[in-house]
Symmetry: C2
Subunit: 292 residues, 2 copies
């Protein structure tokens, strides 16, 4: 079992995830483009590295947490990327949410060099990362999963091996699909109440007490009612995920008309400059389609 | 406080609701179009009546539970309807899910005859009716609500006074909007998994453990995965409710594009003869838009 763990990408998600690994007794090698992002880890005893390649050279397992598929490919295959330290026995675990097709491409390029790859996207946002209650959906080989599971459980509460390469990302896309459509539904429901001069707070309470209950309703409903759009999960991230869902559906040859509506709402929220607001701001788009 | 309680409409919802009132010590006067539907209540001590008018003449509070707005209007204003026994002091409580505009119309016609009216749609389906765990959203005057609340609590776990006449139905429409869109999202998410050859059962488990959790996911997700479409809640009822949502949105001057997609899916399910199946059969519509 490996104790030499690397972590690349130390933002809202990556920083607390890396700290949980550190606290579990692993000595971390870390890298982030912004040097100051490494400081909390260095303070906790981690070694700051100059590049992803250096992280990989000093580690047996390297985690990555980035925003887009292009970011992940840059970290792995770009200048001073992980691939420069590629060797049999190295395992790369990407916890970003990216398109399944990109994850599969990264996996096959790394496996050609003897490097194991797991796609292990994390659901739950910054709060769950801080509380080590993330939901992790993993794609890749049984062996690689079995080795990685104890590390993943340092920050994940629900850790599920879904299937082969890319299947973790498919499961994450399915999750995000359900989430963005639930958000669209809550926004429309509360707007329907307001447009009828019915107190949305009372409607929210009735919804929470019945069959309409969802975790998103509990988390986002109060923000939609109060108009408090401090993030939370920034809308630009759900927007990115909604576009991954549409891409994944097109690749697989299925129609997802509900997800398409939610994606359009997030497009509109981005267009009006709401990308850095909490995703609860989606209600402003639905409200914007109201009379008067 | 009144003990003379009537109940009209003794189907999957009405029968258990009436039995809870009977068990709470109220002597019921009941009516149903199909005489055999009254038998369980008569066995429990209720008096079978020949018409809604007779129920109303023998009761101080009359509950109605029907399917459509037209059904409720027939029971109230049709031949031998409640209105024939109209008198000050009588209260009518409609627990059906109908359009807010129809509920408001019934209320104003009854109030002109001194009869109080509450719209009190019940959410949760037959199981919640049986377990007395319904969510009841009430529209009407404070006084009428205060008098009716003890009766409503005989079968309702969450009983909320939303606002004036019709506002209970607005809250119910908001609930159904959130529910049908959540169902559409679950159907699309599981279809996305299948179309990628990913085990939908594992994806369902990952979804249940994270931010995508909803009561509908817990209830309907397993049915969608297994293809067991024994009702449960018949799709024709969610279809009816989806159409109420669209009507209510059009009346209020708002756009609900997500709800419109879900309504189209239910239209398609009805078109293929699935109205008496469980609403989980919605996934067959989404699957039907898949390649191959």
């Amino acid at each position: 079992m490996s104790d030499r763990v690397g972590f690349i990408g130390l933002g809202v998600m990556g920083c607390p995830m890396a700290l949980h690994l550190q606290r579990a007794g692993h000595t971390l090698n870390v890298y982030a483009r912004r040097a100051e992002a490494m400081q909390p880890l260095v303070d906790a005893g981690a070694a700051a590295c100059a590049s992803p390649a250096e992280v990989a050279s000093r580690s047996d397992t390297v985690f990555t947490m980035a925003t887009t598929g292009a970011d992940v490919e840059q970290v792995v295959f770009g200048a001073n990327g992980i691939v420069e330290s590629a060797r049999p026995g190295l395992t790369v675990i990407d916890t970003s949410t990216i398109a399944p097709a990109i994850a599969r491409r990264i996996a096959s390029r790394l496996e050609a060099k003897g490097v194991a790859f797991l796609d292990a996207p994390a659901s739950g946002g910054g709060i769950a990362a801080t509380n080590a209650t993330l939901t992790i959906m993993v794609g890749g080989s049984e062996d690689a999963f079995a080795s990685a599971e104890p590390l993943l459980r340092c920050f994940g509460k629900t850790v599920t091996h879904i299937g082969g390469s890319g299947d973790g990302q498919v499961a994450k896309a399915a999750t995000q699909l359900a989430i963005v459509l639930t958000l669209q539904g809550i926004a429309e429901a509360l707007t329907l109440a307001r447009a009828n001069d019915v107190d949305p707070q009372r409607v929210l309470e009735a919804l929470l007490g019945g069959s309409a209950y969802s975790r998103m309703l509990e988390l986002m409903g109060p923000r939609m009612v109060s108009g408090d759009f401090q993030p939370g999960v920034e809308a630009r991230l759900h927007h990115k995920d909604a576009l991954i869902v549409l891409e994944c559906a097109a690749d697989a040859g299925i129609a997802v008309p509900g997800a398409a509506v939610a994606a359009q709402s997030f497009n509109a929220l981005m267009a009006r400059g709401g990308g850095r607001l909490d995703s609860a701001a989606l209600i402003t788009v639905v409200e914007g389609m109201r009379h008067g």
